[in-house]
Symmetry: D2
Subunit: 482 residues, 4 copies
């Protein structure tokens, strides 16, 4: 409603009421103006009405929503289904342009602006939660694995002769596959056992780097967030090596934004050595549906080049989700979630400690893993141990992993002994649980109760050598009663 | 409402009313059952109520929506914003699994099923509209360019020594970039001018294939749908060559599903020669927002391998859009849209013919381009001609392209003379318009009216050597009045 | 996005793209401005984006949506459920104020404006479709019956001694009950049979009016839209009588807005005599959910008094529905629907003619009923005839009425012979069907097919004196196959 | 998805995953079954997914959503606008039937069931929060004032000769108007001042009852929830009188469900005397948009008769809101809200006490008003005092009332001295604030801060005899900064 409309409305509604109502929108428009001016995530989250005001406005700025548009191109964003149109706020043109995912689309000024703003506020958030020196970031509508592929393909242009990616082992399939998909040969660095923890074997990494020759190495790929008992890689030491030998360094920070420790080590690594990019999942860090990642770095030119590697347009859906979510959280809201997560981690650890002691087991000591917790299991065959995982899953516990440490797996021609445990001979079977963003005290309480019940049953069954399936009766309903 | 509930409801509502109401849901459930059983796109489109019934059901099958779930993993699909959660029907886990985008997620049975069903019904649709021998297809949540990258990266695993992609020139940046991004060297085959049309120079292609050596060629990449005056590539002849030399053949069928001609040539090419995959955009063919593509082929194993190249999970949003849309259209609805498009193409051609004659210009004769139409422009500098494009855009015409044929452009080190015209020396400047799916008679009428006005003004201005910007006053409002 | 924001956005997006996008919103804002200025239903319907722009804006003008509101009243429109809040566009304060349903709420400038605008555009529509002299109207969030009660209660204030409502019989329960509920005694005027039609017995009406005494008559209540074979009441003659005797006249025009004939007679009646109010359903005339009515009249003061009779606030939901719907239709869209309805009525009549002839029955000739059509049935017991209605209902035909003419019904102490047929001794049993707004050719085709099948079966059963319930197997599924 | 579909899905998804997913829906369906079986508000609130599962199911049970319906009636619930259809879950038939708002509609089994269930769970809630002996209740889609009209119109049928409604004065316009609208003469009983409180003058009430004669009294209408310093009426004593004289007793419990004190007195009154109905607003007690009320009573027959007085159908929108909201809260959730409100009332009182003392004013002592709080103001002209209210409103405080006690108002011919203060000569000017359901600690903090600021400014202005409008600059923005 423009000012003329408001004036005309005074014929129908007393001016004082209208003026106060108008002022509230002035306030909302001011918030939007500050956003566009400063391109920072607002400190306080916005209400949904303001968010929708902005998203709807941006949507109306795309040509497919122009009232008198006639489209004679091959892509006019005609959306067939009303259900589909509405769930996308009538946004249809996606983001990016033929040659660059960050480029502006003439036909879609609104989508383009939304994309630019999202990249800016994500950058602001990343800087605010531990990596202040981040120079640029790019929100891409592909998940972490594919984002790493994009980084590696970008490096290929710079280092056409390189064939290898040096990779401290992390038993997460998509990390490994990203190397393969990008057309590289992985050079696997086995981890070193230090106490219960598995840590980067920096010496071995240097040895292989020298042996392969720095020029033939496309990148070293390290990992921050991972399942215990693996710890954050020794980022600083690796970064120094990379700087020294002129080798790119990509950090897989999949769900590390939520941990100040992961972020701190990235910041430090960039200070003392070389980090080309660190890549994080949007769903795991920002509580949106799976589908996006943030590629961030300390050299904006490299990030720009990654954007230019992306051929063609892409879905704006993950970007829209992130935009809405960060505006809704605000920086303070996000920091509050991070603080709560930290507390939940502590609480989860304490309560698991009680359960393991009661059941004659123990927690693994992994102080360099700020998210995931491991607890020992009695050594047994993989199939027997898996039983415990199933028990938990059937009781509505999702996300635990039971690791027998004795499985082997071959992926793209590489065989991993002890697959799942990040090591070929981890000394003890274990189960992991994680305290990730958004976890609640109720999650923890339900989990430890169910864990305790399952452990008791599992231990009893093992003693009786009785692994019959009677458990199946014991379904969710029972779990709920517990 | 289970049958017990319905029985109990008889205490409140007469049984006859309830029974009839229940029967309607039996009918809906039957439609769903047939879908899961036959995995074909229904002939008749479903109403939104049935679609939502199914999508909501699938959503409730994902663990993040289990009433008593407690999540202790690193990814539990906790969605922060209610706006985001709702627009995704509370689906959050995306599709795919670490190693394979087509794999089932234990935590997300519903999303996994939705993904499988979508792939199946898309396959059915593709078979129904012209390529009956298609063996498999994969809906991926990346657009055409990136999908071609995926195909090429998959070929790299099979042909590690190959370095080149043979590519009959098509001046669409993302096609070209997809070759670069995948790490290949493009071997560009200039098109042959035949009348007004630009067609594949098959002899030159064979020459280059032999000169580079079949083993060093990763693939030949042809194109169907494109802007006039370029025509569909000679798919059959290229396919024969590929078969003969054992070279993979990828077809960029970006918006070709909507054209029976494009589809027919793909089918024929696969019959007489080799086609490894044909790739099409979901937004351009199925009227959904930008963000997905369909990778289809005649050998299911190859399509499977492409799926396995995708590292990690991915957004399910483009898949959900396509699922909803195809169920809503039904096969008959889709075929009706295709038939209407064909009619619109004819009508657009006829009305443009009138306008060009009136303005002393002519249509280009491009009978092998079933979607795009070119009309000659007076030869002039690129900047002057661009003026005409701006005039049209300012009047709410989106999608025309004005090609001066004299521009040069360098992309990733390759310089293209006559960029935009698919040829280094196309003899005449021109403007294109396309009849794509969903176009209406009103679109056409508005377009030709505005085209006529703009042409007259443009011609007059040229005569006066007057290209001042007075046109700017002449904005959308005027266009609307016209 | 204010103009400052757009200017700032030029740092991110080229100014030309932004300017064009901005212009489109200027256009939308202009439409809104015209609406508020002229308070007429727009000729052309608006797109949903513009409607949502306005409704969202109005919602933000209500105090419960002010960003910094703190509420310390007893009613602060705090909405608990997100589902509820969203479906009402966050509107919560309803409409009206303690003493007047049309009054402005200081806390809810937006809702109040929406309410005023809705009343204005409905008035414009009513004037445009046949009653140009309408002086005022009031959209109330109660349906027709309750709206008539409101009118009668308003009359009670003016004519405290009146006890009777004169009422040409119409066998629709809620009309009759509205008299009772308002605390009046109905004086029933039986209809006269003229050919097949039942028409107002104006002489009898005058006789009763004189016999009761004009002062003791609160109002005469006539009816336009009704089931055949009853016809529109002789509004003009009644209106003249009312004028002559100084008796108020309320017209129940429940679904008559959709018929130019009903509207024309109302207009004429007001010209030649007295009409105090005519009342119409919003759902039946404007394709919104049940819940509202429009009370219109030729004297704005009376309509105002009706508004002031409504004690307290009321749901804004029916008003919002009507507002959205009329903006979406536009006046032209609505007129098109009316024209189509007229055509459908003709088509329905023609096809029913075929069916009745085939089955040895006949259509009733009721040229003064523009919506409903009656066809004769063989005379039989009510229970046997009802069977036919059930058959139809079980085949998915809703809305037919089977009238045996032999039933009697007592409502609030009054016994109606031949209940359902508007007469105590209508000579023939019959079935009615109506062509109401929104009906499609497919509705008609399905209906006549099913009618034909049911009639044949029904006739056969009667002949065999076999009315067993075997029909029940023959459910919707069969109907669908037909 | 029926069991056959799930079985077929096993071809696509491992059976174990499907089974667990299916179990969760079994759980949800069980919740629904229990609801239909027991017809009680669930103790624990349901998640939105379950609520939508049920509402969508009910919607599909209405004939307008039958896949193969063809409608030939005058009301087929064809909904024109997609926006409207969707916000009502495609429910269009409203509730009720010609003669009875509680009756089942054959065409709308789903809506009818939803209506029955809502009435049942509301009854359960009312019984649970203080009036266990409630026999029946009716949710009506009209607000409190109109609901009281319905009750009074129902009484008219039983007591055709009665002319008066005895009414202990409460200065809330719609209560008074409901008597007028129903066609009765109000007999006003002025309140007695006891300390600061205004209480029912039972002696005067009895005097008037006897003087008018019990037979000519349609009802006594008392009030529970009201603005301080008026207190809850002496319900028990009035109820005894009513029983003794055989006069109906209607209690206006507008926002009293949220107060255990109000509810307790109603229960007690019904125990010791006569209560025919108690009426409460849905928005004020259950946090839904304005538009509904609950008419409850101790004699189901009377409540049934009220339902039968409602002529015709009505909007189901307020019923749907209440259904969703109560399922979402659960009984425990609702009780928690009530407990919180009680705490907020205490906190509001304590903080206001601080403010009034600081400003040399005092709280009114009104222990029989459990919701509203009054604080004295310096005696001044009405227009000066109103200034203070405006100041507060402009700072985003909604809901306070400033009462000068010196205004007079004439409504429908009755003049009220001291309008707004429930008394003709209340000794002191005052301001009220209320702690109503959903109020938060933040509301209170903002309020008392703003109140303090405004009071200081107001007092200063009075001292300077300066009531200029400079305050206007001091708008919301300032308030926000505070």
């Amino acid at each position: 409603m423009n000012s003329k409309s408001l004036e005309l409305a005074e014929r129908l509604i007393p001016a004082t009421y209208l003026r106060q109502a108008a002022e509230c929108d002035v306030y909302r428009e001011k918030q939007i103006q500050i956003l566009i001016d400063q391109r920072k995530c607002p400190d306080e989250g916005w209400d949904d009405a303001t968010i929708e005001l902005l998203v709807n406005k941006l949507s109306r700025m795309d040509s497919n929503n122009f009232p008198h548009n006639c489209g004679v191109g091959e892509r006019e964003s005609r959306i067939y289904s009303g259900l589909v149109s509405q769930r996308h706020y009538r946004l249809g043109h996606g983001i990016g342009r033929s040659g660059d995912i960050a480029e502006v689309q003439p036909k879609a000024a609104g989508s383009s602006l939304l994309n630019k703003l999202t990249n800016a506020i994500v950058l602001d958030v990343i800087r605010s939660v531990g990596v202040p020196k981040t120079a640029a970031c790019l929100v891409v509508p592909v998940a972490t694995g594919m984002s790493i592929v994009l980084c590696l393909l970008t490096l290929r242009q710079q280092r056409p002769k390189a064939k290898y990616v040096l990779w401290p082992r992390i038993d997460q399939k998509s990390c490994f596959k990203s190397i393969i998909t990008a057309g590289y040969e992985p050079a696997i660095i086995e981890n070193k056992l230090e106490g219960d923890e598995l840590r980067t074997d920096v010496d071995e990494l240097e040895r292989q780097l020298l042996s392969l020759g720095a020029d033939s190495v496309a990148a070293v790929m390290t990992t921050t967030s991972c399942f215990a008992p693996r710890a954050i890689d020794r980022l600083e030491e690796v970064a120094k090596l990379c700087a020294q030998h002129g080798v790119p360094h990509i950090i897989n920070n999949a769900y590390g934004v939520q941990s100040s420790k992961c972020m701190h080590h990235i910041q430090e690594a960039s200070r003392v050595g070389r980090v080309d990019a660190f890549v994080q999942s949007t769903d795991k860090n920002f509580m949106v549906p799976v589908g996006g990642a943030v590629i961030a770095g300390f050299d904006s030119e490299f990030i720009e080049q990654v954007g230019k590697m992306y051929p063609g347009r892409a879905s704006s859906s993950p970007v829209v989700d992130l935009f809405i979510t960060l505006l809704s959280m605000g920086k303070n809201g996000y920091k509050k979630l991070l603080a709560e997560r930290k507390m939940m981690k502590k609480q989860l650890e304490e309560l698991m400690e009680v359960v393991v002691q009661k059941n004659g087991l123990r927690l693994l000591s992994t102080k360099n893993n700020p998210i995931s917790i491991g607890m020992s299991l009695p050594q047994d065959s993989s199939s027997v141990l898996t039983e415990l995982g199933s028990m938990l899953f059937l009781r509505g516990v999702s996300g635990t992993r039971v690791i027998a440490t004795t499985d082997a797996k071959t992926i793209s021609g590489h065989t991993f002994q002890g697959w799942g445990s990040h090591a070929s001979d981890y000394p003890v079977a274990y189960l992991t649980a994680a305290a990730s963003i958004g976890m609640t005290a109720e999650d923890i309480n339900l989990f430890v109760q169910r864990l305790d019940k399952c452990l008791q049953k599992f231990m009893a069954q093992r003693n009786e050598n009785n692994t019959s399936k009677e458990d199946n009766e014991d379904n969710l309903d029972n779990a709920v009663k517990s």
